[in-house]
């Protein structure tokens, strides 16, 4: 009972505080404070909503004004031309921009190339196009829309109080959404997309759907903020709505506060809005603006990653012994299924074409459950491409791939990952902004069977210990050496409890001691009964580890069989020009 009270008390206090803030307009403060706070809340909501896609997932949008504007004009048109009560227009002001975002996203997010600057360009272009359409059609027509005849419901004693309340509700909801997202599977997926989208997809993150969801949320919030703002401003024009100030300010606010944190954009928005409003007396206008610029420069030079990350870093400097103590390794019972006769992976006539180049020219390969197959061949023979088509990174140009008797060749990569295919990269590609442990947890969450967060954490700790990374849990990948990053790749793959593990040159770049370590590790993995396909140049490892070896040459399967037999094949030796054992 007492525990329950202790646990609920902070929530109760928070709820009371939120309630008290909501009722601020009844406190009898001059109305100006309501309208100033309205503007602060307005920017907090806009900046936070922008960060849902652009900060979390790194899809930098310059098109926030488009969604804001569509929402604003939705309310304006419905309220003035169709006499819909103001509050009833707001759902539409959220839904329409969200739908627009879904349509844009459904097209754009399918194109792997439209990331980074090109996405920014596209969203900017969309803004120009929408603004021009609104300007030249009866939606606005150029004359602006005057909202004075639209009645404002009296939710608070004063109209400005009503605006404050609406903005407050939207703002609290937006922050709650941002918090919820950043602490959920969706958020974890978005952060993974931010760091490396291809890897995220390969680890089982449904990137397309997640981006679409974030985009729709982001646009919907911007839209409803716009809907309320239409009433607040009273007279709206295209030039005043679709101006670059909106995307520019939300970017700057997020940068100042820290755009990857759910709370960062809010901090930035409060600081910048307050600063811009501090110098509006007629005598200070010019110098005031210059002073604001100066403060911002000093602030960002001092806190280059933004306010919230800087504060977090400062808080983290204090030792967190408690967390460590709880991180005891829990033994995971190894499954010891013997290598059976059941075929797990069935590749039939796999073909992959890149423009005129035929990287895979019809490869057939069966992998039995519990087996280790070594994939060898000279550079450019198609080994990594084969891994890429099995894991779904590239779609096949022809042929088929089945896992457990089910066709997987038409599935998106994240689906394949969820069906139990895990892969590693030759050059490790960890999520650079997540700690080592978070990297493993993210992979386990999306790739593995569904488990509770606590289970996932325990197992992730186990696999980190298994790969010898104990004590590095809280380090960022940048702090790990190559050997450790390679093992992090393994830990990420293992944590998904894969049916099939695809290893791409785990040993390359390692020194002899590290190689011995790695070989021991792969053996240990094998001892747990995993099925493994691995690409390797190092023949000693191939011979030691493989049950069978597949030799690729010029995109075709050249030889397949027991390691020692294959390696003695004169044809194989000639491919390698006698260098077979030299490594």
């Amino acid at each position: 009972m007492a525990m329950k009270v202790a646990r609920d008390l902070p929530r109760l206090v928070a709820a009371l505080a939120v309630g008290a803030f909501a009722l601020l307009p009844t406190a009898g403060l001059p109305a100006f404070y309501d309208s100033f706070l309205y503007l602060v809340l307005f920017w907090v909501s806009l900046a936070t909503s922008w960060a849902l896609l652009s900060g979390f997932a790194g899809y930098f949008s310059l098109g926030h004004a488009a969604f804001f504007g569509v929402g604003l004009y939705t309310t304006a048109v419905m309220a003035t031309k169709f006499d819909v009560p103001f509050l009833l227009t707001l759902p539409a002001a959220a839904i329409l921009p969200a739908l627009l975002a879904v349509v844009i996203g459904a097209i754009v997010f399918r194109l792997r190339r439209l990331r980074g600057e090109l996405f920014a360009l596209l969203t900017l272009a969309v803004t120009f196009v929408i603004a021009t359409i609104v300007l030249n059609t009866p939606i606005d027509g150029g004359g602006g829309i005057f909202m004075s005849a639209v009645p404002l419901p009296s939710l608070m004693p004063t109209p400005t109080g009503t605006f404050y309340l609406l903005a407050f509700v939207i703002c609290v909801t937006t922050l709650a959404i941002a918090w919820k997202v950043s602490h959920s599977r969706l958020g974890m997926g978005l952060f993974a997309i931010h760091d490396d989208e291809d890897v995220a997809e390969a680890k089982g993150v449904p990137t397309f759907r997640y981006k679409l969801a974030a985009f729709a949320l982001s646009a919907g919030i911007a839209g409803i903020v716009g809907g309320v703002h239409a009433m607040f401003v009273g007279f709206i024009t295209v030039a005043g709505t679709f101006e670059l100030t909106v995307p520019l300010y939300v970017v700057l606010m997020s940068v100042l506060g820290g755009s990857r944190s759910w709370f960062g954009p809010a901090v930035g928005a409060v600081v910048i809005t307050t600063l811009l409003n501090s110098f509006n007396s007629g005598d200070q206008a010019m110098l005031g603006r210059a002073f604001v610029g100066f403060i911002l420069i000093v602030a960002i030079l001092w806190l280059p990653d933004g306010v919230v990350p800087a504060v977090r870093k400062w808080l983290k400097r204090r030792p967190t012994g408690a967390a460590r103590a709880g991180a005891a390794v829990a033994p995971v019972v190894a499954s010891t299924k013997p290598a059976g006769d059941r075929t797990l992976l069935e590749v039939r006539g796999a073909t992959k074409r890149f423009g005129g180049l035929l990287a895979l020219a019809g490869v057939d390969l069966d992998v039995r459950e519990g087996e280790i197959v070594g994939l060898v061949g000279p550079n450019g023979s198609g080994k990594t491409t084969l891994i890429n088509v099995i894991s779904g990174h590239y779609p096949l140009s022809g042929g088929s791939i089945a896992l457990d008797g089910r066709q997987i060749s038409a599935l998106p990569a994240h689906d394949i990952a969820r069906r139990g295919v895990a892969r590693t990269y030759q050059i490790p590609r960890p999520f650079m902004n997540m700690t080592a442990l978070e990297n493993v947890i993210a992979a386990a969450t999306f790739g593995g069977p569904s488990r509770s967060p606590a289970e996932i954490r325990e197992e992730s700790l186990h696999w980190m210990a298994f790969t010898g990374l104990s004590g590095k849990e809280d380090m960022l990948p940048a702090g790990l050496n190559l050997h450790e990053r390679k093992f992090l790749e393994l830990a990420r793959a293992l944590a998904t409890k894969p049916k099939l593990l695809l290893l791409d040159e785990v040993l390359s770049g390692l020194n002899p001691t590290e190689i011995d370590n790695a070989i021991r590790l792969v053996r240990a993995i094998r001892a747990q009964g995993a099925t493994i396909v691995f690409v390797e140049h190092l023949m000693r490892a191939v011979v030691e580890l493989s049950d069978r070896v597949a030799v690729l040459n010029e995109g075709k399967l050249f030889a397949l069989g027991a390691p020692h037999e294959v390696m003695r094949d004169p044809g194989v030796v000639s491919i390698y020009l006698g260098k077979a054992y030299a490594a």
Partner: protein, 407 residues
């Protein structure tokens, strides 16, 4: 905190300034200097941002007027303090700052901001607190729906119907009246509003509208538009321009070796257009120019001299007083007349007085009993002659010896 200190300092300085002026002026006027608690009159101007080009002019005009009013009797014997804030050219800022003026600074009276969007944003606030709001720069009178909002500029209630006819009358008076017209306009609400009226009235009077083109406000590239104008080769070119759009258009036309025959410009920046080599004979809308008969209006000579001096000091590029500045002067003349007339600072009484009286301002006899509180339209036409703007129409307002020159 900073706000408070700022407000306090500003108050002291302004009161001091007002008192100083009053002391100097007192012997001459043989009046008691205004004394007691100052009457605060609040307003915003777009001192920064994309509308800031004209704020300097308005500010100077307002300051001239505040000093003048204080050199007389102030408002009801109390000195006037002008609380000026910067709305950064943003309507939402205007809205918020008028709330600040009324609820935090607790001003007694307000003056309107500049340009349609901030005016309408401020008007909503004024309406909620029942404040009288006088403004001088809203070109679409029908949007002025608040019954205590008053115009200081004589647009008349329907300038989109009346003013095109003034222009067409002027054009009909030239030796070869235009038979064809091209209407070109910036998609800025007040300009587009007038352009549509122009198109309609021209058609009604049998002038053929060869082209009606709208371009995005703030357009930089007039090459293609100029080529279309040249190809149409109208007798009369009507441009709903703002700022320097007219300069850019005329230059683009010159580059095509084309000079428009008769050309009218709605709201261009007057200085640059007068000085442009292509601006010669350009026509433009106005309410007043510093010539006769306007200079004979009470106080006008002094305002013109004072304006020139202060504008030079403020480093403004064009220091001649114009209709914009006089709009602001007119605002304060109205407010002063209404406060004195109503013998009250009460907004309801001031509003009633304004509706039932005429006020003599530098912009003429204004009345406010028509639709949207507008009275008679008195929008005129000026023309660049020898690099100077001269009123040329209606004829009774033309400067002595000046005539509309047709091309």
């Amino acid at each position: 905190m900073i706000e408070q200190i700022g407000a306090w300092r500003r108050r002291r300085v302004l009161t001091g300034m007002a008192a100083g002026t009053a002391v100097l002026a007192a012997p001459a006027l043989l009046r008691a200097a205004p004394s007691g608690k100052p009457v605060k009159v609040g307003g915003t101007l777009s001192l920064t941002g994309f509308l800031a080009q004209t704020a300097g002019i308005h500010r100077i005009a307002a300051e001239i007027m505040v000093e003048e009013i204080n050199s007389r009797n102030g408002f009801l014997g109390r000195p006037v303090e002008y609380v000026l804030l910067d709305d950064q050219s943003k309507p939402e800022m205007a809205r918020s700052l008028y709330e600040k003026l009324i609820t935090v600074d607790k001003v007694d009276l307000i003056q309107g901001p500049y340009a349609t969007a901030p005016i309408l944003a401020a008007m909503g606030v004024a309406q909620r607190y029942g404040k009288v709001m006088i403004q001088s720069s809203m070109g679409i009178p029908k949007l002025q729906t608040y019954d205590r909002a008053f115009p200081a500029t004589p647009f008349g209630p329907e300038p989109d119907k009346t003013y095109p006819n003034v222009i067409l009358d002027a054009m009909a008076s030239i030796p070869t009246p235009p038979k064809t017209i091209v209407v070109l306009t910036s998609k800025f609400p007040s300009a587009q509003f007038m352009a549509k009226g122009m198109q309609k009235e021209a058609e009604a009077r049998g002038v053929k509208v060869m082209l009606y083109l709208e371009y995005e406000s703030g357009n930089h590239d007039f090459g293609a538009i100029a080529a279309r104008v040249k190809e149409a080769n109208p007798d009369f070119l009507w441009v709903g321009s703002l700022g320097l759009e007219s300069n850019l258009l005329l230059e683009a036309l010159r580059k095509l070796d084309y000079a428009p025959k008769n050309h009218f410009h709605l709201y261009p920046a007057p200085g640059p257009l007068a000085l442009s080599p292509d601006g010669d004979r350009a026509l433009c809308s106005t309410f007043l120019e510093p010539d006769e008969p306007f200079m004979s209006r009470p106080g006008m000579k002094r305002y013109a001299a004072e304006f020139k001096e202060r504008a030079t000091k403020a480093n403004l590029p064009y220091t001649t007083i114009d209709a914009q500045a006089c709009g602001m002067i007119s605002e304060w003349q109205m407010l002063e007349a209404a406060v004195n007339g109503a013998v009250s600072l009460d907004d309801a009484k001031i509003a009633t007085w304004l509706k039932t009286h005429k006020v003599d301002t530098v912009l003429g006899h204004l009345r406010f009993d028509g639709p949207y509180n507008h009275g008679d339209a008195s929008q005129m036409i000026k023309q660049v002659q020898h690099k100077e703007w001269k009123v040329v129409w209606p004829k009774e307002f033309a400067a002595p010896g000046v005539k509309l020159i047709a091309s």
